[in-house]
Amino acid sequence: MRALNKKVYPAGWQVATVGFFLFYMLVPIISTYVFSVATRWDRTILPEGYTLEFYKRAFEASYFTTTLRNSLVLSLATVLVSLLIIVPTVYWVHTRLGRAKPLLDILMILPFGIPTVVLALALVQVYNFAPLARSPFLLIGAVVVYSMPFMYRPVSNAIQAIDVHVLTEAGQSLGANVFQVLAKIIIPNILPGLLSGSLLVFATVFAEYTLTSLIVGARFKTFPLLLVEFTRINGNVAAAFSVISFTIAWLVSLLILWVGSKGQTEKVESIQAR
């Protein structure tokens, strides 16, 4: 009741915390944006002039489209493979193998514990035969493992939040087989989890550098590789690349969110139509 009648002002330290957080998060991004259009920015607080020259050079860079395409292919393929592996596994563990869940939870932290360089070198050593050796396929396999926790967590939480057992049995008693239950009942009900997992994986893989450079290198050059190359040539162009990379990641995120929310708006509309 009190909260309703009296306006509650945030304490000073709350404002400070939030302010510091925003500053901490936004400054690097904003400076990258500014740097990508700055003519000269070492003698003054604000740049001395602005230009789109660096973007022109970025877009004109040889390999621009190839690396962009490679990055998109790599990220999307990883999202797909990850979904195909994680969703049935998590569903299976939740319905049939409850005891394996703690084990899976721990397994899914492992990729965080292994240094990427070690992972890359180990994979290159073990899979040193054709057609896998140093191929994009090996790279996809590697980034799937590397980004797996990002898919696993949201999917596992989403499945946990619904009554998988009962929904599965209800579906089966109505004549649906396991695939129909998964496709028509379980997946539509965990869609938000699948989307956030896909977003995290996409963004992570789109910016992945270490594995790519160590496993395939120049054979399958991705956008981050090109970006790092340019940091050695021209910082401003590298900044422009970063901005382009952000923008693409954002656009794809929005696209995924939009696709995902379509199902839900249809629901709302059908309720309102009543």
Partner: protein, 354 residues
């Protein structure tokens, strides 16, 4: 031959028997309920019929065919769950149509069928809503409609009303019975609520610790319980442990009781006499009656239950409960001395356990 037959079905979890040597015949079109305390194996048995749980041994025949090897989605057995289990991402209509779509039913037939079952559960106007926009009782009606839409051979219900309010429960159980008899669908109904089981079943299977205690019509179960467990689990019964003596008499710890024939017992055998509270009459003066149990006692508790008032009466140190209606007695007060009378037929004698 019965429509659904369970033969010597056994199931244990981690070495502990959940269902033990369960054999039962269920007639086509009848409603049979499994009644028993929580943990007695009702759900496990139901899930074995549905195919969600594998049998350790035994067989289940449906219309003469062994269904044990058949996966649950091909058994043609509908199920209603305690937790409703409606699909949250689908509207009511889509939920009901789900089973028909799985069967690849033509679209017009699906629509007709959905309308007809919505009619049956009296929720014609809810078709476009989502499950979360319905009350618990409505959701359970839709779950019932969804299970019935595909015209299953058997309908299973696992405590379908336990999550609902008392009033809704009573209304809905009547509806379930009405629809069940209209469709003449073979139904197994699991409940731990004796009143529910007695009021809607053709037959009641009383279960305890994975075993069948008794199978019978609701009247048989209530009036002629086979075991002490059934007698005490269903309704209330006063228990008088004692030994049989000659001439239809049982010598109990506190009283001597006249009973019906004791032919099936040896003289001096340990038995328990059970007397239902509603068979006991209460009199202020000592009644002059032949061949009737007449026992003096002192009123210790009086509990008003609406239709009846339940008295707790002390007879020689044992508490006996008797139900009286306002119509047939004078007002009673605490610590009043009165006479309990009940005929020999009201005494159900059974051998003491062990």
């Amino acid at each position: 031959m019965a429509y659904l037959e369970l033969k010597n079905v056994n199931k244990s979890f981690g070495g502990v028997a959940a269902v033990h040597d369960f054999s039962l015949d269920i007639e086509k079109g009848s409603l049979v309920s499994f009644l028993g305390p929580s943990g007695c194996g009702k759900t496990t048995t139901l899930r074995m019929i549905a195919g969600f749980e594998q049998l350790d041994s035994g067989t289940i025949l449906l219309d003469g065919n062994d269904i044990v090897p058949v996966p649950p989605n091909r058994r043609d057995i509908g199920m209603v769950f305690q937790a409703y289990a409606l699909f949250p991402n689908m509207t009511v209509r889509e939920n009901i149509a789900f089973g028909l779509r799985m069967k690849k039913t033509p679209k017009e037939d699906v629509e007709k069928r959905v309308d007809s079952v919505l009619d049956m559960v009296r929720l014609q106007d809810t078709g476009k809503r989502f499950p979360h926009q319905l009350s618990g009782g409505q959701q359970q009606r839709i779950a019932l409609a969804r299970a019935l839409a595909v015209q299953p051979r058997v309908l299973l219900l696992d405590e379908p009303l336990s999550a609902l309010d008392a009033e809704v429960r009573v209304v809905l159980r009547g509806e379930i019975r009405r629809i069940q008899s209209e469709l003449a669908i073979t139904t197994v109904y699991v409940t731990h609520d004796q009143e529910e089981a007695l009021s809607i079943s053709d037959k009641v299977v009383v279960m305890n610790k994975g075993l069948i205690e008794q199978v019978g019509t609701p009247e048989e179960i209530y009036r002629a319980p086979n075991t002490r467990f059934v007698a005490t689990f269903i309704g209330t019964a006063n228990q008088f442990p004692g030994q049989t003596s000659e001439k239809n008499k049982v010598i109990c710890v506190n009283v001597e009781l006249l009973t019906g024939s004791l032919k099936e017992f040896n003289a001096g055998q340990s038995v328990v006499v059970l007397v239902r509270p509603e068979t006991i009459q209460v009199q202020v003066e000592r009644p002059q009656q032949e061949n009737c149990n007449i026992i003096p006692g002192v009123v210790e508790t009086i509990t008003f239950h609406g239709a009846v008032t339940r008295l707790g009466v002390n007879i020689n140190g044992q508490r006996v409960v008797a139900d009286i209606t306002v119509a047939n007695t004078q007002p009673v007060s605490l610590n009043q001395k009165l006479w309990l009378t009940f005929p020999p037929e009201a005494c159900q004698v059974m051998a003491a356990e062990e």
